[in-house]
């Protein structure tokens, strides 16, 4: 079984509350379309860096939940971040990897290793204790309240297919206005 990524993001949107959501590539484009929340962090800059941005945000704002929507190809480019996150042990970080088995933003070429990579196993081996895998939307949505509130770091693999296409608005995710709006939203969140 697999889930549509856009359905997963709709489910997350229903449960995120005031969480910061860091998203990369196709997940970022889907998030912009489905849930244009002011606390979306879209400016990851370089492939693989989403989880590291999220760690910085989680350490900087321990009063807020930080969720990262990573890609499988992206995480492979920064696998060490799993170990760094386990070492820093931020209790407020939730790391989702959207596993579709390919580099979707770059022509949908398959990942090295094909479908043999076990991301949940990698997370466990890195030292992250709260690890799960979801391939059914109802189970994922039922688990979301717990995933978003349990002490972290939390890691979950989401077995996904794309869903409806979202515009690839690179100029938006890389734009200064996107970062300015996020910074202002985070500052406002500080005064709550």
């Amino acid at each position: 079984m697999t889930m549509r990524r856009d359905d997963c993001i709709r489910a997350l949107a229903r449960h995120r509350g005031d969480a910061i959501v860091v998203a990369t590539y196709q997940a970022a484009f889907d998030l912009m379309r489905i849930d244009p929340h002011p606390l979306n962090y879209l400016s990851v800059g370089a492939m693989g860096q989403a989880s590291s941005h999220a760690l910085g945000l989680a350490l900087g704002r321990p009063d807020m939940r930080v969720v990262v929507l990573d890609g499988d190809g992206s995480l492979l480019m920064n696998l060490g971040s799993l170990v760094t996150i386990a070492g820093a042990a931020p209790g407020n970080l939730v790391h989702f990897v959207c596993e579709n088995g390919c580099y979707e933003a770059n022509g949908s070429h398959p990942l090295p290793g094909g479908d043999q990579v076990d991301f949940a196993g990698l997370a466990r081996a890195a030292g992250i204790g709260d690890v799960s895998v979801f391939d059914a939307l109802d189970a994922f949505e039922a688990a979301l309240p717990g995933l978003l509130t349990r002490p972290g770091p939390v890691f979950a693999t989401l077995k996904v297919v794309p869903g409806d296409p979202s515009p690839q608005e690179y100029e938006v995710i890389h734009g200064a206005e996107t970062r300015r709006r996020f910074k202002e939203a985070l500052r406002t969140a500080a005064s709550r």
């Binding site: 800059g45 860096q49 941005h53 910085g56 989680a58 350490l59 900087g60 070492g87 200064a176 500080a190």
Partner: protein, 176 residues
Amino acid sequence: MNATTAAAYPGPRGADIIAALKAARVEFVAAVPDIVTSDGLLWPISRDPALRLIRLCKEDEGVSICTGLAFCGRRAVLMMQQTGLMDSLNAIRAIAVEYQQPVCMLVGLQGKEADRAASASGKYGVRIIEPVLDAMAIDHITLDSPADVAALGPAIARAYDRSRPVVALIGRAVVR
């Protein structure tokens, strides 16, 4: 470096660098160990309760971690060797330079001769660092001697005031 050279060309003091970081309101240090700064700076930082050390697997993680912290209004520095700087250039290009983020980096120049400027080093891997930073229009300072540390606080302040990256190149072994 032998004892005679070390005496003639003393490196910066770790205690002075740590004091400068604290005076600049730095709370977090993200680091991959580097032999130039290991004994005199990174080990003392690891024992300092006023600084949160984030041990990294790879240097480019630190570019993003420092950026995430900066969005939260928290100050950080990234410590690494020049090899890690070179390995992180794409993240620095995109996140620190193009996104205009105050990523502050302390970079040990492993292999640099104590009696020469980096630009005059006989080591290719050292000699190219400043020209690479210049090509990327990245602000940089040199911390070779104890007196050079006076420039660190203003450099960090400049980075946060302008929201731009800065690199401090440490060209001699940091002493305790």
